[in-house]
């Protein structure tokens, strides 16, 4: 079974803090993704990566950056957290297709910025 783990289930941070969200997958998948999910808006792609050290902007990259130094790990960084970044953050990985293939999601991190 593919396993995607995220570093925290719940996180509370203050406005202006730098926030790191970590994601690790154990199935040697090429592709990794970060989404945020908000009520009524669905899942929106923030960044994705289809190789180590490669990254591509998704639909809503503003205020975020990412890092992929190892194949199994994809980190999302909120440079200066703001209240409008309060959301559920979901990491996913997929084996094939550079976004065409089925994606395996982690359990999510519910981030609250106060």
């Amino acid at each position: 079974d593919v396993k995607v783990t995220q570093s925290s289930r719940y996180l509370v941070k203050r406005t202006g803090e730098k926030v790191f969200l970590e994601c690790v997958q154990d199935m040697d998948h090429e592709n990794m993704f970060w989404y945020r999910q908000d009520p009524g808006l669905g899942l929106r792609l923030i960044y994705f990566s289809y190789d180590v050290k490669m990254k591509e902007k998704g639909d809503i990259p503003e205020g975020y950056s990412v890092s992929r130094e190892k194949k199994e790990r994809f980190s999302l960084i909120l440079e200066s957290a703001s209240t409008n970044q309060t959301s559920m953050y979901l990491c996913a990985s997929s084996l094939w297709g550079r976004g065409r293939g089925e994606q395996y999601f982690g359990p999510g991190t519910r981030l609250t910025v106060t």
Partner: protein
């Protein structure tokens, strides 16, 4: 812009009946369409993928159809059970950048199966 519509109202059905969920889209012709299940507070779980040249795909009690003329996918769960209660998301695979594609998700339909 690309728009995906899933019925935002919950679908309530009785155990044993067939549940049918609808996904309509506009302004694009995706090569693939995927369906996911999401339980409260959890990440989505992949269920089925269907390609544009496939009319229908089945997996156990699940069936997905893909009508590129109507721009619609239907997701069926036969002999539904209370354990099938969840939110079901459809997602279109669209070309995005270079050789990469991305999934664009609908907002999901909540299914409630009662005894």
């Amino acid at each position: 812009s690309q728009k995906i519509e899933q019925n935002s109202e919950a679908l309530n059905i009785q155990e044993g009946k067939t549940a049918t969920l609808t996904c309509n889209y506009t302004n694009y012709s995706p090569a693939y369409l995927q369906w996911y299940r999401q339980d409260p507070g959890r990440g989505p779980v992949f269920l089925l993928l269907i390609r544009e040249n496939e009319k229908e795909k089945r997996k156990e009690r699940l069936k997905v159809t893909f009508d590129t003329t109507l721009k619609q996918s239907l997701f069926h769960i036969t002999a539904s059970q209370p354990a099938d209660s969840a939110t079901y998301l459809c997602a279109l695979v669209l070309p995005y950048t270079g050789t990469a594609s991305k999934l664009t998700f609908g907002t999901g339909t909540r299914l409630q199966v009662t005894l």
